[in-house]
């Protein structure tokens, strides 16, 4: 009887394990099937490198280069803002802050992570967007820059918590060794701690960027959504994610437009997958 119960439980757990893989495979297959259909009419290179995205013109022009560049621009901007601040914050929490400040900061970071992205987008829309418009005398504040700033806030909690973890797990003896040679606290942090934690910090950065690339709601609200090749941070852009979210509702099922949106999904999937794998490699290198 007991053996029978063991058997049932074992198989149930096995089923749960298989189920998750099974669903992933199903989703993946569906994405591939719908996405690859677009390549019957558009050559993959024309799709990836095409400079204009007019999905409902006749015939539709399906080039996603402006969208890819839009995503890259916003992501790079967000990375430039969030990496120094995030890593700096992690160093402060892990190494410098007194215990009480540390607790408060950590709680604050967790709170930041808990804010729904649509709320952040909304706040950005009424604060950063008019501010950017005023400061830089732009025709509109809905720009790549505004999106980058907002997304930086979203990447920050990921970067801070993982980087802090990486710094925390550097053996104490490394730091002592550096101090014993006459290093100042900052020299020990800069030359020993950061170097020893580098793979973990890189992983933190990659995961933060992964979050930015996949973010949809906030970017859709504050980047302006103009599907043109962006020439500066102060111009409106449209990202891959925002395109899918904005247009899926109105695309006719089975049309080229519809398939093209799925193909964008594949592109996004490949990018996120690449980033996650890189982050994973860094994390494993650390162990």
């Amino acid at each position: 009887m007991r053996k029978f119960r063991e058997f049932i439980i074992e198989k149930l757990v096995l089923l749960c394990g298989i189920a998750s893989i099974f669903f992933v495979v199903l989703i993946f297959l569906f994405l591939l099937k719908e996405g690859f259909a677009v390549f019957k009419t558009v050559h993959p290179f024309a799709f990836l490198g095409g400079k204009s995205w007019y999905p409902i013109s006749e015939p539709p022009r399906l080039g996603i280069l402006p969208l890819i560049l839009g995503s890259i621009l916003v992501t790079v901007g967000a990375a430039i803002i969030s990496i120094p601040i995030g890593v700096g914050c992690a160093i402060y929490i892990a190494e410098i802050a007194p215990k009480k400040t540390k607790e408060i900061l950590k709680a604050g970071i967790e709170l930041l992570a808990a804010i729904p992205s649509v709320v952040l987008g909304f706040i950005g829309m009424v604060t950063i967007v008019p501010l950017a418009k005023m400061l830089f005398h732009l025709p509109t504040g809905l720009t790549a820059l505004s999106g980058s700033i907002m997304l930086a806030f979203m990447a920050m909690p990921t970067i801070v918590s993982i980087a802090e973890d990486a710094l925390y797990s550097v053996p104490k003896t490394y730091k002592e060794g550096a101090l014993a040679m006459g290093a100042t606290h900052w020299q020990a942090i800069w030359r020993v701690m950061l170097r020893a934690a580098s793979s973990g910090i890189l992983a933190a950065v990659m995961l933060g960027i992964g979050r930015v690339i996949g973010e949809t709601m906030a970017v859709m609200m504050i980047t302006g959504n103009a599907a043109v090749i962006p020439h500066s941070f102060f111009a409106p852009v449209r990202t891959l994610t925002a395109t899918i979210a904005a247009e899926m509702g109105e695309a006719v099922i089975g049309s080229e437009h519809y398939f093209a949106l799925f193909a964008i999904g594949i592109v996004l999937f490949v990018i996120s997958f690449g980033i996650n794998v890189t982050a994973d490699l860094f994390l494993h290198k650390r162990q």
């Binding site: 003896t173 060794g177 101090l179 014993a180 040679m181 006459g182 290093a183 030359r191 020993v192």
Partner: protein, 248 residues
């Protein structure tokens, strides 16, 4: 010449009284070995000498420690640690090449000249008796060295900063007997140029390398004398019991 002059030193961590009224002098070019069971305060003494204890919370220190007449509490802590280097129990090479491990300290203190750096690294490796074993592979990872070589690399790293005193905190506790012998050889030759303080759990090691030996028990300095005397005619029974292995 007296290098360290310790007077009525008391160290407490919270409610733990780690060192009680310790007074002692450390002389130039000697190896002072410090023995005693665990929790006897010998590592605390070592960590007080270059203020590594400062990192610990709830620390209270009374009494004075002078390095060549200067109170170490009034010295700049980084300057103090440059003059008083430490070799830790476990060899801790940094994840860098052999050369860069040794060059680390000087580089940190602002040495930029490549030729001088190469000389400094070679001198340090020679003094640690590692040069002949590594001279052809200076740019390999330090992790490829054996445990004993790694520990001598750490000694070289400490020497490269050009300290006056080197504190050894159980430097051979993780090493096999052959590596231990090599590290001991290096220490015996180093005392011509430096002053060495060696904390060890290995009583035989103290007998082999120490000029003078200090015996600590429960935070008290029980006695300190020439090593031969401690090991042949100790004044205190507790010292006798410890070195004979009756407790420990």
């Amino acid at each position: 010449m007296v290098i360290f002059k310790i007077e009525k030193l008391n160290v407490r961590f919270g409610s733990v009284h780690a060192l009680r009224d310790v007074s002692e002098e450390i002389l130039e070019h000697e190896i002072l070995t410090v023995i005693g069971p665990s929790n006897s305060g010998k590592s605390t003494l070592l960590r007080t000498l270059n203020r590594m204890n400062d990192l610990l919370p709830n620390l209270r220190i009374t009494g004075t420690v002078e390095l060549e007449g200067e109170n170490i509490r009034r010295m700049d802590v980084e300057a103090l640690r440059r003059r008083v280097g430490t070799v830790f129990a476990l060899p801790l090479p940094l994840p860098l090449s052999i050369f860069d491990n040794v060059a680390y300290g000087p580089r940190m203190h602002g040495l930029r000249n490549k030729k001088k750096m190469a000389e400094r690294v070679e001198t340090a490796l020679r003094q640690a008796y590692l040069w002949d074993e590594v001279k052809d592979r200076l740019h390999e990872s330090a992790f490829k060295l054996s445990g004993g070589q790694q520990q001598r690399l750490c000694i070289a790293r400490t020497l490269a900063v050009e300290p006056e005193v080197i504190l050894f905190d159980e430097p051979c506790s993780g090493l096999d007997p052959i590596s231990t012998a090599k590290v001991e050889d290096a220490m015996l030759k180093l005392k011509q140029r430096y002053t060495l303080v060696l904390v060890t759990n290995n009583v035989k090691q103290a007998a082999r390398v120490g000029d003078r030996t200090a015996f600590f028990l429960n935070g008290e300095l029980i006695e300190v004398d020439k090593t031969e005397k401690i090991f042949t005619v100790p004044r205190d029974n507790r010292t006798d019991d410890y070195i004979r292995g009756r407790f420990g």
